[in-house]
Symmetry: D2
């Protein structure tokens, strides 16, 4: 079968690989129909994720059709259409019992990381019963690809950790795909202000179109002052960090109100300064987290009932055979204005 293989930093190829087979009783083999590329895949290709070995098929998002199941699988059978969670959950360990699937003792983020992933014709999904979700009759499968990772991540790590609530004020630092996913799902809670902050005016314009009440271009270094002006000098109740560098984390500390929350979503490569000499008395909360994807069933309902239009995030379409070009488009987002790209297998 065709598969996009990571061959070490800076190296990837569309290769021919054997079709995966059942290895454990709880496994399922899924024939991929649609997948996508994540910012994390670019991190792997830069060499930032040493736990990903050369030779691994990339990808942790997608929808498909069940091809085969192991003897321990009870919820799915061949032919079922399924959504694949980016997080593999055994459903039995102490972390899974708490719903913290990201820290599953034998699962977590393994697809396209420590085992072969979804950018291929077929993928093996361990613990299928608790890592796949049935696709309702008549659902738009393209929209559902956004539920494998990006929407749950924006929602769980940004909106839920950030305790967005009716009438509250929210700032989202970073208007890329993940920041926009937070923006879309923040609106579930009717905050009165959602301020998008970015360096790229195009992305801010998208933010405005997706429901931001204000936008701030932080290029001039006055973002803090602008947010303070927009919030009557109080700062925001929730600051969502959706970039992953020290400067954006600092901005979140500067703009969070007393009693507010900084919800970190960004993937950080280096330590940051935490200004406890100021914040110790400000009653603030800082949260971090890898997505658990416990919200997939809920998000499915909101997509089905049209409370959210997940397809807005999709800007480009490719065939699996064109995936090298898809990577090229996705990695040059400033030029191509790409948000999420769909790869049809």
């Amino acid at each position: 079968m065709q598969a996009l293989v990571y061959n070490g930093p800076g190296q990837k190829n569309l290769e021919d690989r054997p079709k995966p087979s059942i290895q454990m009783p709880s496994d399922a083999i899924i024939r991929i129909t649609k997948t996508t590329i994540c910012g994390t895949d670019l991190h792997i290709l830069k060499g930032d994720v040493p736990t990903c070995q050369p030779g691994t098929i990339l990808g942790h998002e997608g929808v498909g059709v069940v091809d085969a199941v192991g003897p321990g699988v009870v919820s799915f059978k061949p032919g079922d259409r399924v959504l694949i969670s980016c997080i593999t959950a055994c459903g039995r360990c102490a972390s899974c019992r708490k719903g913290m699937y990201s820290h599953c003792a034998t699962g977590g983020w393994i697809l396209g990381h420590s085992i072969d992933g979804t950018q291929a014709e077929f993928v093996r999904v361990p613990y299928a019963d608790t890592s796949l979700y049935p696709i309702p009759e008549g659902a738009d499968e393209e929209a559902l690809v956004m539920l494998s990772d990006i929407l749950p991540t924006g929602f769980e790590c940004g909106v839920l950790n950030g305790k967005v609530e009716p009438g509250s004020s929210v700032a989202i630092v970073g208007s890329g795909p993940i920041g926009l996913a937070a923006l879309l799902t923040a609106q579930f809670y009717a905050p009165s202000e959602i301020i998008m902050i970015d360096l790229d005016d195009n992305r801010l314009a998208v933010g405005k179109r997706f429901g931001a009440t204000a936008t701030v271009n932080s290029a001039d270094g006055n973002a803090t002052q602008q947010v303070m002006k927009l919030t009557g000098g109080r700062g925001v109740d929730t600051a969502i960090e959706a970039v992953g560098i020290p400067a954006t984390f600092k901005l979140c500390q500067d703009i969070v109100a007393a009693g507010g929350i900084v919800a970190n979503v960004g993937v950080h490569g280096v330590k940051v300064d935490l200004h406890l000499e100021k914040l110790w008395s400000h009653n603030v909360t800082i949260t971090t987290g890898l997505v658990d994807t416990f919200s997939i069933p809920m998000l499915l309902k909101t997509v089905q009932s049209k409370r959210i239009d997940a397809k807005q995030l999709i800007t480009h379409h490719f065939k699996l055979g064109e995936i090298m070009q898809a990577y090229d488009t996705f990695s040059k987002a400033a030029d191509t204005k790409a948000l999420k790209v769909i790869i049809e297998a």
Copy 2:
């Protein structure tokens, strides 16, 4: 001054009464600009509320202008435009410290009940600092009359107690003003289904216009079956009781899903049957409550940011001199299609 006075069951008059004056250091005198009539006022007039003495000026909702303040008032001064909470809160007792203002040791629902109310040219408001809210510059005061009681009641007792959340299913039994207030504020949380249930097709049509995803006319006795059909046999996550009679409370028990909540908002005059022989094992929660109005500041923000259009609830306008006619219109709602009426003083 002119005032609408309760003179015993079935008896009310527009009378001339002396203007109130400061009695306690924490009092304020408010010149009423707009007030309204509540279903509770009709209950008093039927003689259902024996704690309301004949001779009391009715009304517990309204906006106005501060006319005078006692020496203990620090937050308001004459000329300030204010919203009056239906709940008077001392801000100091154990209940107030918990935000349960409805059970304030020396306050609670006293306006138009145990002391003179707002259906008059002026009203004395005790504990002004913690019972009045400043009206923001440029706000639509008519809309804000809906924040004195009806919107906080629907929101706090129905939506918050009922833990409405993204993707959840909600049924609201009773599509009168209070049920519609719950409907409007339930949408802060993006539930995937909101089913309005009533006997009156006109009110159901209003419910549909206000955002219900389905409506059920319960006249034929098949409401339970219809709700079960709409929810795939599961029942609803939240059932909001907005009528106050045994039959509607029974319906809520019949349609709530395992793990769900019945949030009672209706004012009940008699006991009801609770079917614990079935519900003991269904992991359900039942809540009751008088509104605390702690949500007024939040609701103000959602009105200001246009997340909610509170004026939709207003169907008629009268002058204070026409208040007898306003009562007539409001009490014949099935014919007049009245929801809330504004009385301008």
Copy 3:
């Protein structure tokens, strides 16, 4: 093997039955070492539980040793010592994902109810990975039998649903095994008052010994007045119903403070009166629930760290061959002063 079989209302026998075998990939066969009798077993024998068919082996509590596992079981192997939850959980359905294992689509309370139970030499446990718990090295297994049902029930349905908290006041109506389990676990939260209410002075004396701060014998009909006196006229923050009849549920309504919670634990056979004509405005919450046993791992830690002495609940010991006599002792608790009896298999 020997097993205690329900043969219809009023009929039970210690019989010889075939040893169970693996039927599904997720099954385990457990050799029982210790089991016990629950009040629910007596309900079945009275004919109150028509869903339990004659011919069923009773019992839903116990500890034992894994004898065999199906091919889908990953967490246990023959020889492992395990604690059996009274609730069987598939770990995959919507209810299980929420931790509401009691409403598992294909599990829930099935042991000794719809399938053969634990009062036998061996038992088949479906969904073993998510329905059994490993016993830590050196643990006192007799104490752990209390974790199959009674302690999680008192804790989850009484203490957690009742939101017992530091400094709060609690009344527990019913000082039988389940009320005492609530009493023991309520002390995890340092309430300032725990009032035990019962008709039996012996059980109240046990309550006092287990940590109650006051006891009330309700035989004289003045329990409400006594509780009001003990709480300065305010009532209790949490009233736990641990009996299951209309009179005790009424008492809970009478003694709960405004803003308080009535947590129902009792199994009710008939409907009760709910006095909404009084409670509609009292901001009270009523909860019901079958135990989910999600708290077993936590309770294991508190037993291991000696925060709780679970063995206090055990009053008698029998061999499996003496189980008919054990039932006799347990069912005449007023005379025998039995709380929980241990049956060694």
Copy 4:
């Protein structure tokens, strides 16, 4: 009257000052009977708190008798015995409405900071109705001095923010008065492990006596390894930082388990490193906060019901005339083994 006056960095004197008088309608004048010294007073004397002007009477803790009240005070009258909160709350502003009294718009921590404090014969307390608490008949007033600041701080900022719960594991970094206050109040929630960490073996011995399940002397640099060993390699669910320097905050980051909480209580003078390159994916929460003292009424109940022995924290007694000596004893805690000192006025 006699008063301990801050006269600039390193300078303090017991001076004669005029008795304070009512300035605002909500003021009360309290005759101090017992007060104490806080670590924060030492910070002021080092010059670390520039917002405290020379000439200010120090002290923000104490009990006393109401001497006079302003016309706006409704809850207290001369002769009432009262506990003084270290936090002055207007009870009306947006922060107070949320219970975040520490950020009261016109109050907060002002006693002994921006206005004269309690280390004197008399003190003026603004917003008396919401900043004083009545002392119950027969209470031990010496114990209650611990409720002005230290116990609420340990409880609110450490235990509540840290979400200590039954069966959980807790590490408290710093076994000084504030860490010990967290230790005492953590036991309200029956955690299975409480590990005290400090450099001083005497303070660790006190921790052990106060209920710690284990102690770690961090002098040898192996504290992380020791905590990991004590927790089976998992780390702690809650790490409470009760020192206020970068090294101790780093230790908390090192020992917190995935999904756990670092609750900062320490007063920090410089920024710290936050290792987001590791923690971004660990689902951790970090909280900061000045005490709000909303828990004083609850703590009073636990002291009255003997769930906690607050007097254990008191090691020394002085008269107000000996306060210079009391400061000396308190500031040399390593030698004097002082925890809290009582000053009788």
